[in-house]
Each structure stands twice: as structure tokens, then as C-alpha cells.
């Protein structure tokens, strides 16, 4: 019952956002980049359903276009973090001993590094563009994945079926790939959905602080950030993107919950 509700609402929200993103590729009410200095800061009305921003650009159009940008950045980042983190986590778990210890020192150091500084530092070098953000945030979240994968590897190494695999004559590497890795899949999927949410939030936080996907291309994050000085005079600038972020994240989190319930840990590993 619970599973179904979560999946339903979550799925609906995510589907809506994805639809927004896809729609924006072919059509938006106005060109999201088109300036109109005479129509600056107009409140929601007939011409512009969600009003206009400080350059006279239509907010609804920018919202739709921003959906795609925010989702793309988040998806790529999660991919980078999962791939890199899994690789490193497997290595640490496989080799153990000194290699593992050294890797963990690096991992902990990276974890202790506030994500903001890491992202700022990397992006200042790569420039504020999509790839810089993906790299920066991907690196910032990799340690979390490493910890998860390494932990799973270490705890599963000594299980009977893994021993059995070794006994048959499979090399350590094959054992890892064939038996241990698939069992990381479930927690990784759950972590991935949570991370997606964190990345969307982080991207908007970075934009807020002055870095992030560079304008004039809209992302929800930089729309929130540009709306800040106008919070009193033109509150609609900030409300729409914030609502979008919140609803998207809600959908992701609900889906993640449904996923976790479905992959109930009491399920036997393969």
C-alpha cells in the first residue's frame, strides 16, 4: 500500500519534471533568452503566466528550460560519482591492507573538505560551465560512494557463497565482479536517488553563491539566485524555481523510498 503510494506520487512528480524538460526542447511560450527591457519585473498576468524577470524574460519559459539543465547536470554528476566511487571502493575493498589505508586517508580528507570549497576551487579552474560543475560536484560526492562500496565489499568478502566462489577456482577479481558487485547495486541505487536530490540542491546553492551554470542559460538554481535582490519587490522571481526544486526533490525522494522498500534488505543476495 505504502509502496504503491510513494511510487505513484514520486513517479508522477518526476515524470512531470521530465516532461517539462523534454517539452522545453521543442517549445516554450517565449524564448527563454529573449530580453525585453520594457517588460522588466512584471508580475504574473495574462501575457506572462509567471511574470518576467529583471531582463524582461518570461519566467515560465525559463522554468521549463531550466528543468532540462538542472536535471542533466544532476544526472551526469550522479553518474560520475557512482562510477568513480564504485571503482575506487572496489579497489580499496579488494586490495585492503596498506593500499586501502592510504585510499581511506585520501577519502576522509576529501570528505572533510567542505563540498562548497571543493566545487568553488575546481570551478574556478575549469570555469563556470556545466562540465566544471559536473566534475566538481561529482568529485565532492565520490567519497560517500567509495565508503558505501568499500563497506559492502568488506562485509561480503567473508560470506559463504563468496568463499565458495574462491574454492571453485575463480580469481579474486572475478569473484568480486561476479558476486560482490551486483550486491552493491541495490544500496547504490538508493544512494544514487538521494544523491540526485543533493546535487540539485548543491547546484542551486553554488549558483546562489555566485558560481554555477552561467547565465543567461537558466537553471533553477541561478534563477533563485538572481531573484534574491528582488525578494521584496518581485517575489515571483524566487518562488517559482524554488517550488520546482522542492517538488522535484520530493518526487525523487519518494521514488527512492519506494525503491528502498522494494529492495528490502531482508531479500537474499544472489
Amino acid at each position: 500500500m505504502k509502496l504503491r503510494t510513494n511510487a505513484l506520487i514520486g513517479g508522477l512528480l518526476v515524470a512531470t519534471v521530465t516532461a517539462m524538460a523534454l517539452l522545453s526542447v521543442i517549445w516554450t511560450p517565449y524564448n527563454p533568452l529573449r530580453l525585453n527591457l520594457r517588460m522588466r519585473l512584471k508580475p504574473p498576468g495574462n501575457l506572462h503566466w509567471l511574470g518576467t524577470d529583471e531582463f524582461g524574460r518570461d519566467i515560465l519559459s525559463r522554468l521549463l528550460a531550466g528543468a532540462g539543465a538542472s536535471l542533466l547536470v544532476a544526472a551526469l554528476t550522479v553518474l560520475v560519482a557512482l562510477l568513480l566511487g564504485t571503482l575506487l571502493g572496489l579497489i580499496a575493498g579488494y586490495f585492503r591492507g596498506r593500499i586501502d589505508r592510504v585510499m581511506m586517508v585520501f577519502n576522509d580528507a576529501l570528505l572533510a573538505f567542505p563540498g562548497i570549497l571543493l566545487a568553488l576551487g575546481i570551478m574556478v579552474v575549469t570555469g563556470a560551465n556545466k562540465y566544471g560543475i559536473v566534475l566538481a560536484l561529482g568529485l565532492a560526492y565520490t567519497p560517500t560512494v567509495v565508503r558505501l562500496v568499500r563497506g559492502t565489499v568488506l562485509s561480503l568478502r567473508e560470506k559463504e557463497y563468496v568463499e565458495a566462489s574462491r574454492v571453485i577456482g575463480n580469481s579474486e577479481l572475478v569473484t568480486m565482479l561476479r558476486h560482490i558487485l551486483p550486491n552493491c547495486a541495490a544500496p547504490l541505487m538508493v544512494l544514487g536517488t538521494s544523491m540526485f536530490g543533493w546535487v540539485v540542491l548543491a547546484e542551486s546553492a553554488l549558483s546562489f553563491l555566485g558560481l554555477g551554470v552561467p547565465p543567461p542559460a537558466p537553471t533553477w538554481g541561478n534563477m533563485l539566485s538572481s531573484g534574491r535582490p528582488y525578494i521584496e519587490s518581485a517575489a515571483w522571481l524566487g518562488i517559482a524555481p524554488g517550488v520546482c526544486i522542492a517538488l522535484t526533490l520530493l518526487g525523487i525522494n519518494l521514488l527512492g523510498d519506494a525503491l528502498r522498500d522494494w529492495l528490502d534488505p531482508r531479500m537474499e543476495p544472489r
Partner: protein, 318 residues
């Protein structure tokens, strides 16, 4: 507590040293790799090449990087964190002053969030799958989906500006006027509390559900203990353990991530100091701040590990 546990803690404590050293190296190198240098920033576009050279020499930036690192490290060892290149203030007192602000917010918020989240989580677990449970989980999920600074902005707009209940900008230190200082902190604390409550409630609830399924709980119920007794005496401590770990992670991370909230509420905290210093290429401040934050993160996690056996007796004996 067993001696093997203490030994484990000691080893953990020792391993923090290379970690912190690595952080120091990473910060040092990263800051100098980033384009732009503080002398250029201070002089602006009007600085002549000679003035630039003079100022760089004054800041010691003309020395080889290894020498700079060695000098910095040796000063730090004796407690001298250096001086800010932008403002000339001594770094350590600056850090401590700013830390007070951030720590006040974070500790109060996480404390309040824990006090509210754990009972709420327990309650939801106890009433699993009922309407109450759904409402609590929905609320918690909702709050952790909201960008913290957006929530802060909204609260600022409605509670601060429209209703005028609390001041929206400014700050005075506690020593100057503690009541005013507290009033400036109300909104940021509420914002952070709401957000953290989301995370903690869900964690408390899920670990409570797991515990409730365990056999010794059924056993306790069978013995005839009241439901409340069962909850408090058996479920709470065990459910709290993973929540406690999460608190450690949250606390450690928050100090770094609170920059955005401090920007919204214009508070002179540690997060903002770090961000401003990065933009100003204020090397001593960034380095000092990072090391300080990393140290706190490591310390908090160590303390969390120390108290873990209190909540999960299995750990201490393993």
C-alpha cells in the same frame, strides 16, 4: 567499555593526523592553482607591476611554494595562524569569533531538530502505516526536499518583512546585547531545524521500525511492559544509534555547508568567511578555516564513535 574498543578509538584518533595533514596540503595547493592572486585583487586594475611585486614580496608570495608551505606549517604548529591578507586581522581570533556564530546556529538547530525528530520518528514507527505515520513521513520528506536557503528566504520574507516579528538583517555579538543577538538567530535556527528534522525523523523512524521487529521487543511486550516503557527503554536507545551517527555526519558537514544560510541571513559566520576568503584569494584565512573545519569534522566523528556503544551495546563488546 572494553580495552579493544579504546584501542580502536586511539588508532582512529591517530589516523586523523595524516588526514588533516593531507587536507592542509590539498588546500594549500588548490588555492595556489586557482588563477588570480591576492596582491592583484588588493591593488585592482590600477596597480603597477612594481607595486604588484612589492606587495607580493610583502605577503611572502614570491618564495617557492614549498618554502611557503613549510613556513605556514611551522607557524601553525606554534599557534600562529597568520593574518588575513584582505583585512590584516589575525586569523585565529577571527576564526573563533566567526565559529561562535555558526556553532550557535548549528548546535541549537541540530539539538532542537533531534529533540523533535526522534520522538516524531518513534511515534511514526509505532503507528506505522497509519495516517499519522504518512503525515509525519510526508512532512519530513517535504522538508528535506526544500533548498535550505529558499526556505530561509521565504521565512525572511513572511515572518521577518511582512509580519515584522523578527529583525531580518544585521547582527550583534552575544557579549554586546544577548537578547538582540538571540533575536537575529531565531530565523536561521528555525530554518535549519526544519530542514534537519526531515532527515533525522526519517532515520529515526526507519531504525525504530527495524528495532520494533526484533524479537526482544516482542519479548518485552509479552512480559507485560506498557507500550511506553517498551518504546523508551528498548526501542529508543537502539533506534537512536544510527541516528546518532547521522547527527555526527550532519554536524560535521553543516559547518562547511552553512555558508548559504549565512549569506541569506547576512550573519558573520564561518561559512561566509570561507566563501568570501576564497573569492578574495585570502590564502591564510582559507587555509586556517579549512584546517579548522576539517579538524572539527574529524573531532565530531570521533566523539560520535566514542558515544556509539552507549546506544548500541553490541559494538562495545565486539
Amino acid at each position: 567499555m572494553s580495552s579493544s574498543f579504546l584501542l580502536y578509538l586511539l588508532r582512529r584518533a591517530l589516523w586523523t593526523v595524516p588526514t588533516l595533514l593531507l587536507v592542509a596540503v590539498l588546500v594549500f595547493v588548490l588555492m595556489r592553482l586557482i588563477p588570480g592572486d591576492p596582491a592583484q585583487l588588493i591593488l585592482g586594475d590600477a596597480g603597477t607591476a612594481e607595486q604588484l611585486a612589492d606587495l607580493r614580496a610583502q605577503f611572502g608570495l614570491d618564495k617557492p611554494i614549498l618554502v611557503q608551505f613549510g613556513l605556514w606549517l611551522s607557524h601553525m604548529a606554534s599557534g600562529d595562524f597568520g593574518h588575513s591578507l584582505s583585512s590584516g586581522e589575525a586569523v585565529l581570533p577571527l576564526l573563533l569569533e566567526r565559529f561562535q556564530v555558526s556553532a550557535a546556529i548549528v548546535l541549537v538547530a541540530v539539538g532542537a531538530a533531534t529533540l523533535l525528530a526522534v520522538p516524531a520518528g518513534l511515534f511514526a514507527a509505532w503507528k506505522q502505516n497509519s495516517l499519522t505515520d504518512t503525515v509525519i513521513v510526508a512532512g519530513a520528506t517535504f522538508f528535506l526536499s526544500i533548498p535550505s536557503f529558499w526556505l530561509g528566504l521565504l521565512l525572511l520574507l513572511f515572518v521577518g518583512l511582512k509580519l515584522g516579528w523578527v529583525p531580518v538583517v544585521g547582527y550583534v555579538t552575544f557579549s554586546q546585547d544577548w537578547r538582540a543577538a538571540a533575536s537575529y538567530l531565531v530565523l536561521p535556527v528555525i530554518t535549519l531545524t526544519l530542514i534537519e528534522m526531515g532527515v533525522l525523523t526519517r532515520m529515526a523512524r526507519s531504525s525504530a521500525i527495524e528495532t520494533l521487529r526484533l524479537e526482544y521487543v516482542t519479548h518485552a511486550r509479552a512480559k507485560g511492559l506498557s507500550e511506553l516503557r517498551v518504546l523508551l527503554r528498548h526501542v529508543l536507545p537502539n533506534a537512536f544509534a544510527p541516528t546518532w551517527t547521522l547527527i555526527g555526519l550532519v554536524l560535521g558537514n553543516l559547518l562547511g555547508g552553512i555558508a548559504v544560510l549565512e549569506t541569506v541571513f547576512t550573519l558573520p559566520g564561518l561559512g561566509r568567511l570561507l566563501v568570501d576568503a576564497i573569492f578574495a584569494r585570502d590564502y591564510p584565512v582559507v587555509q586556517g578555516c579549512l584546517l579548522f573545519t576539517a579538524g572539527i569534522y574529524v573531532l565530531v566523528n570521533l566523539v560520535v564513535d566514542l558515544f556509539y556503544p552507549l546506544f548500541d551495546p553490541r559494538v562495545a563488546t565486539s
